[in-house]
Symmetry: C2
Subunit: 305 residues, 2 copies
């Protein structure tokens, strides 16, 4: 801890894991009044007023739409979220959901040793094509996993610039061309006006009947009424959702009783053990800051993610 | 189809996919009496008497213990099983079971949006160590999948010769040293006298309490009474079983009601679509035979797998 160590506030509580991470990266933990960097691990409603010497705010969330709505994000300093850190965890959950659906693990849990129908319904990820809608950090983590499983990835991003490891990258303006070319879909895009109801009656009817849809992004990307129809009519094979709309679904939501739906309670990125797991990532970003290198997960002003 | 095309019998029925595969590899499909190669896709009880001009029998099963017990396998010709073909599928199922357990997908299916306990129980495969007991073809397919998921593999095989991609290879005589070094276990070993009850009270108590055990091999590798105790007492976190002992479990088997057990009905390698999926693999083996190259999945006499 030298005299030039960068002063960092860890608020609203000095979490031991993040304090250790800051110190390991050469930072000095101080009160907000003295800080140049704020690591904020509290709720959006409790976000403090910032003085102008704060040059960087590090948020612990992946989606920052609540901070945007609350008018917290300004353009007078750098803001980072934690999307990079979460990516590995979310990619893993997406793969788990997809495999659980394809291998009929949900059915097996509910219908004990109902061998014949389960055997007939099992599908292999190996040899299939998976489209990832919103190819950012989650896709960067998911693509190598899919490739190792013998699957081919189609990436959809804004620019259409080729994504590493993807067999094909498609710009989001041409997303509709993807449905008929893929076996399965993973939604990993932020919730924006453009991505709202990206999965709708039209995209559902264009997908093959053996398709599974995995949503690890945000519920409103899916028109859930249209999804319900498609699942009931066999237009697609199944849906594995870590996020829903509304969230959580009502107790009497018909999705709960469909045999080809898996719903996990928004745990792709579990809250438990969060700061411990996130600490090395925060240390890396602080190291980058001090070295003048590009920060991970900088929030771009005017885009709400 | 030349005069020198190798005569192959596909019995007991001339399955269209395998017939096409034989012909695509330069073989000629004939009756058993004329054949030099027999592709057997029937049951062990119906296995025909073989004449001495049959030089190679290709079985469609992975485990051949039934053929050994029935005295069918002789040393007068080459026998192959289909373990290589099955490996990718079984490795995929093993990964799906492990992820389903770690990500609490089974719990989420049964307990709708029970968020707090599920969030707390979710674990990451990323950063963990997985021991694969019986490191043959399934492990060769599973290790790259685990590595891409950010996990480290310990391979256990007979010889202890380093297995490609494994962080550590341990000879099976020293399997007991593995339990305390690993987070999770995948059983992929054949059913033999040596592997019977490899998972027992002693190995279960040596494993960490967060361990998941995945069995995609054969039920008798696990002492199921000891497993039941360990699952009830929290000695391990869970078990995901595609095979059981007895198989299937009785309707009133207490395993069915444990929250930390996933049982799939022996579908890691589904019977449906089998010959279609297996055909390219059979064609490759026939090509190898004609080229004088080493065959895939040759059964070694005196070892019942």
């Amino acid at each position: 801890m030298s005299a030039t160590a960068i002063p960092v506030a860890v608020e609203p509580t000095r979490d031991e894991h993040l304090v250790a991470a800051v110190e390991s990266a050469g930072g000095r933990v101080v009160d907000l009044a003295e800080a140049r960097v704020l690591v904020w691990i509290g709720a959006v409603d409790d976000f403090p007023d910032l003085h102008d010497r704060i040059v960087w705010v590090a948020l612990k969330t992946a989606g920052i739409e609540e901070y945007v709505s609350a008018g917290v994000i300004d353009d007078r300093r750098v803001w980072t979220n934690a999307s990079g850190f979460y990516a590995e965890n979310v990619a893993e959950h997406a793969l788990g959901l997809l495999l659980a659906g394809l291998r009929q693990i949900n059915t097996a849990v509910l219908r004990h040793w109902d061998k014949q129908p389960i055997d007939t319904a099992v599908r292999s990820l190996h040899g299939s094509t998976v489209a990832i809608i919103g190819a950012g950090g989650i896709a960067a983590s998911l693509i190598p996993r899919l490739t190792a499983c013998g699957a081919r990835a189609i990436a959809v991003n804004r620019s259409g610039r080729p994504v590493e490891g993807a067999a094909l990258t498609v710009p989001s303006a041409r997303t509709d061309e993807v449905w008929a070319q893929t076996d399965h879909v993973v939604l990993a895009a932020p919730a924006t006006a453009e991505t709202r109801h990206l999965i709708n009656a039209s995209s559902l009817s264009a997908l093959p009947s053996h398709a599974w849809i995995v949503n690890v992004a945000r519920g409103p990307l899916v028109d859930q009424a249209a999804l319900l129809d498609a699942l009931r009519n066999g237009e697609i094979a199944g849906a594995a959702l870590d996020v829903t709309d509304p969230e959580p679904p009502a107790d009497d939501d018909p999705m709960w009783s469909l045999p080809n739906v898996i719903i996990t309670p928004h745990v792709a990125n579990p809250a438990s053990g969060l700061t411990r797991a996130m600490a090395p990532w925060m240390a890396e970003n602080l190291r980058r800051y001090q070295a003048g290198e590009e920060l991970l997960a900088v929030v771009r002003p005017g885009r709400d993610y």
